[in-house]
Subunit: 346 residues, 2 copies
């Protein structure tokens, strides 16, 4: 397929809470860079290499993060990186992405299919993919399917375990189910359900039709590119102020009938918390993951990230210890889901 037939939108919101203090509201998760690697958002862009050129890559982020995002992704045209004036969940972010991607950069050209109705794919800025080649293969398949059918194609991840932190998709009924409890999760996995990784791929017209049918309050946003030449900040702010906070799953995917599922198995993870470090980074002989000056005596299974002062661990187990010049976090690994509670007290 020609590159411009497909455009990718990276959704890069993120509050920075779950990786605090490494990430903060000013430098949320997608900017996370650990163990000498690239930031998650750079990885998200690099992963699309060969599928879209930087000119066809877009980022929807929050207003306050536009400058940092442009700095992090200098190869993406500045105008392709837009900040939402306020948080309105993924419903609004996808709608804005559709409006933007349809409007900018793209020029009609001779094509065997698609015409001026490019396929747009939505991806998250803060996920890990262990097998990017396989990822691209699956995305290509999904894009082809999206072009062929009047459907929103979602990539469902083959579950590695009965996770309770992801929604699921039934590939047979093509229905979305929300994050389950442990018992339900086991049933879902047994029944062949896939993880909902928040990857949605469809033609522009299909997205617009879905908003019109199921979330008319978001339709205007999705149609921005169809009329206006540019998005005036004041106009966008007015539009947003009136929008509901609603996820794209809930606003559209749970209602749409024209859903297709392409299964994927490419070592996907949403890097939901520090616990993910255990999967991605090397351990010492006692199961500690370390970055920076970490002095470890009789300590096991800890994640130790020293970004300022030297950390010394003595006899402790299964902790996450992170230091920055401003903050020190000491958390039990099993309690990472409660990270948000630290902020209520700040």
């Amino acid at each position: 397929m020609s590159k411009a037939d497909f455009k990718a939108v990276i959704l890069a919101g993120g509050s920075g809470e779950r990786f605090w203090p490494l990430s903060t509201p000013e430098r949320p998760k997608q900017f996370l860079r650990v163990f000498g690697g690239e930031s998650l958002i750079r990885q998200a862009l690099a992963r699309l290499d060969g599928l879209v050129s930087p000119e066809d890559a877009f980022v929807v982020t929050t207003k306050s993060l536009v400058a940092a995002t442009r700095k992090e992704l200098p190869e993406v045209p500045k105008g392709n990186i837009v900040g939402e004036p306020m948080r309105r969940d993924t419903g609004a972010a996808v709608a804005l992405g559709v409006g933007m991607a349809a409007q900018r950069g793209w020029k009609p050209r001779l094509q065997t299919e698609g015409g001026d109705d490019p396929v747009i794919g939505f991806f998250s800025s803060d996920q890990m993919v262990a097998k990017p080649k396989e990822f691209r293969k699956v995305v290509r398949k999904a894009v082809a399917l999206a072009r062929r059918k009047d459907a929103i194609v979602t990539i469902g991840i083959k579950p590695g375990y009965p996770a309770t932190c992801f929604g699921y998709i039934s590939p047979k009924t093509r229905t979305f189910v929300e994050k389950p409890d442990a018992e339900k999760a086991k049933k879902y996995v047994k029944a062949g359900y896939l993880w909902n990784a928040g990857m949605f791929i469809a033609r522009t017209s299909v997205f617009r039709g879905a908003f019109a049918a199921h979330a008319p309050e978001l339709e205007k946003l999705a149609n921005i590119g169809a009329s206006a030449k540019s998005i005036a900040p004041a106009g966008l702010a007015r539009l947003y102020a009136a929008l509901p906070k609603i996820s794209f799953d809930y606003a559209v995917m749970e209602k749409a009938k024209n859903v297709e599922v392409v299964p994927g198995d490419f070592g996907w993870d949403d890097v939901g918390s520090f616990a993910a470090f255990d999967k991605y980074f090397p351990h010492d002989s006692r199961g500690n993951v370390r970055e920076g000056p970490c002095n470890v005596v009789e300590a096991e299974g800890n994640i130790c990230v020293a970004r300022s002062a030297r950390i010394s661990l003595l006899g402790v187990k299964n902790l996450v210890v992170v230091t920055t010049p401003d903050s020190v976090l000491v958390a039990d690994k099993s309690r990472l889901t409660e990270m948000k509670r630290l902020f209520a007290k700040h």
Copy 2:
């Protein structure tokens, strides 16, 4: 008793390891100041108030700590604070203290007893005493006994529990026993043994006689004040270089026959590790002891000392977490006895 009949020597060595990173080799335990309180060495001096005036208080410390000690105790005459040129354990420190206290400041005067043979008491710079009034009462008793008898009087602490980290004294046989194992400790407590708190009180002549009899290699040091007017640093260094590393307990007390024991029960503790904080400082409702900005969520029984960056604890139990600008310590409370192992790796 008249003040000048009694002189006190504070032994202030200390390597700073057990309270690292709050204490360091440059600022060892005796300078530890927590929860808005005074340093341990200031407390040691203040505790003697009414027993000795600052002119009759002496400090034996290490060479590198003389300046810091003089700054911490400005009311003590500079010449009363002396630094050992090298570490030679408490045997040498007590001998030097005897030599110093006999030499300086003290002037013969009309007395009903004692003459120019003042009683000298040795105390540690890094201990806590919950009931200083009771402490002074016991010390007065010990001083009177020391003046009356040709004996070294030791104050034995009534054990609060069968500690394995202290030596014991049998008040009946007046014999010293070293740090026992748990089983022996129980037996000692049952038999009425007392903790050896390292407090020794005797007339100058008695100390000198004991060194002459049991540790002649230390006799010269104890006799310094008897001849010379001042201690020349080079002479002291030469003297020390030839000395054995030996504790006063081992060099003298375990061999001496003229030992008297005065029992004491004044809330004594040697503040051996961070665990002592649990005894001396107030707890929050979940048993955490906190100093500085410590944000605590579902965390229990921790000692949290924030001297630089804010500490956030999430779901952790029984840890010691200490931050300084240079270092962060995260240790399990039950492993504090292994603190030294951190330094082997530094």
